[in-house]
Point group: C2
Chain length 325, copies 2
């Protein structure tokens, strides 16, 4: 089979590529060809047993999407997006990439006439406060950011294109991916990963919000599992409602810290420095805390069951099992 | 004040123009200028005490929307749309007019930088079955047509543009407008008006669905009231959730017929000919029956309270008070 990944140079894209290279297949079907797209040329993975094509390009430029689907990839993972903070800071860029890029990709698939599985990376940002205690799958779409608005529009397009038989779409609303590997970034959510990643690497981390802050997380490994599972789902079993809130671990910051303490000890935990930041606390306070993901779980999507498991996966996948004491 | 109406040649557009010509004002503010846009040149109303400009053009053509907002109209009624059946039959035309046309208008307003009140004609078609008994304002957006999808996307754009301060939007989800004046049309919903309009005019009308079919209606006069009321609303009182389901009369076909009998007698009712049509019954059966419109009513939107009132308005506004016996 031929697999296309947009946004392949991003964190989840790279993890998904690693997984496809390792497995060599999605379910029963061997991967024969992999096309990797991003705004910067994605690096070719090493040790690959199938054909890999890389392509640098902007999906929002007319013609780019048509070139990507010219060979009719069987499965398309559409991960390319401008992140939340950037889409809010640069309105035009956010809409161009997140809305036009997505629409042009769906349009290219429609014009190619072959009905592939399209897996769309959506986000819990399609929901906006006020929230019920646990947000159900069918909570109304009230995004409070331009990022969330474009993601919600993408969901609506995905459903309509699926209904009309132009493609076979599955939208996945990801919870926050934690522990994000790599350097700290400037996202308001960055500390959720930072307070685990930095202390485990022997460095201090800043905690800008109260310990009572609750949030939902899934590991990068779980996120990749969601994508691969979505590629294998029977569309008929999903029915007409194609956008699914993914499961995750709902935990307070205090719960994150206690899990870290059990795994890595007090010395590691002592590297977390409390430095309250009212602005970050206000942003994070408007985010969802908990989701009711019954539908995704019934369809076989699996996340971690506690935060300790998320930490262990980070230690295993990113630190080769080693903690800086 | 300067008022712009897109889709001004349509039924609601013409009724709105009549109203503005009659009142000469919206609330406290006198209308000084009226710009009328449609794909065909709208006719100039007679007896007008203010300046009227008409313009034939396609909102989905770049530059058209910018020309319309060049003079910074204070209130924009955005009614232009391809109707449900046509948007389903012609996918590209539906998206071009209903999505691109709306987005280009909002973009033109954003670029003009002056934050006008924009009233967006949305539709109950943003909702899709399965439904609760009464659909609340915050029911999730699950359109089952391309028309409903484009309308839902317009709602999301309207909210985001409002949140960012580019415009001050109010989206109105209209129930079925009944009794539609004029000739019978081919819309699946056409009979809801036809079984009242034709018998009152001395002609036979076909009823293709069972008498138990329930639906929600508002008169053309109520629809125009919604639009004018939306122009006057205090945005702060509406808050961030800018799309409102309008009130209406939820009634069965049997209830419609009984109201007609009380007003016009058995002879008029006998002109309704039952001719079951499984296809129409299936389409109509998937539509919403009842809405919970508490929010709109609290904000002062008013519709008829029973179907007899809807019939009386038709007789008054369209038949000069005369029934064909």
């Amino acid at each position: 089979m031929h697999v296309l990944i947009t946004g392949a140079a991003g964190m989840i894209g790279r993890k998904l590529i690693e997984r496809l290279v390792r497995d060599g297949r999605i379910g029963e079907r061997a991967v024969a060809q992999l096309t990797l797209q991003d705004i910067v040329e994605p690096s070719k993975p090493a040790g690959v047993r199938f054909a890999v094509t890389t392509r640098a390009g902007d999906l929002s430029v007319p013609g780019e999407a048509a070139a990507l689907v010219a060979d009719a990839p069987d499965v398309i993972f559409h991960l390319a997006a401008v992140v939340s903070g950037e889409a809010e800071a640069d309105f035009e860029k956010g809409y161009r990439v997140n809305l036009d890029g997505t629409r042009l990709l769906l349009e290219a698939v429609r014009m190619r006439k072959y009905n592939p599985r399209v897996i769309y990376a959506s986000s819990a940002a399609v929901f906006g406060a006020p929230f019920p205690e646990a947000i159900p799958d069918d909570f109304h779409l009230t995004p409070l950011t331009s990022y969330g608005t474009a993601k919600a529009i993408g969901e609506l397009l995905l459903s309509d294109y699926t209904r009309r038989g132009f493609l076979d779409g599955i939208g996945l609303r990801f919870p926050t991916v934690c522990v994000r590997p790599g350097k700290p970034n400037k996202a308001a959510s960055g500390f959720f990963s930072g307070i685990i990643r930095e202390p485990l690497a022997g460095e201090d981390a800043v905690l800008p919000v109260p310990d009572t802050t609750r949030h939902t997380h899934a590991s990068p490994r779980a996120a990749v599992n969601f994508l691969v599972h979505a590629a294998l789902l029977d569309g008929a079993a999903v029915g007409p409602r194609r956008n699914l809130t993914m499961p995750g671990v709902s935990v307070t910051v205090a719960g994150q810290i206690e899990a870290l303490r059990k795994i890595a000890g007090d010395r590691v935990v002592s590297r977390i420095k409390r430095k309250p930041d009212a602005i970050v606390a206000r942003i994070v306070g408007s985010w969802p805390e908990r989701f009711d993901t019954r539908r995704a779980r019934e369809l076989g999507f699996v996340a971690e069951t506690d935060f300790a498991e998320i930490i262990r996966i980070h230690i295993e996948d990113e630190l080769q099992g080693k903690i800086a004491n």
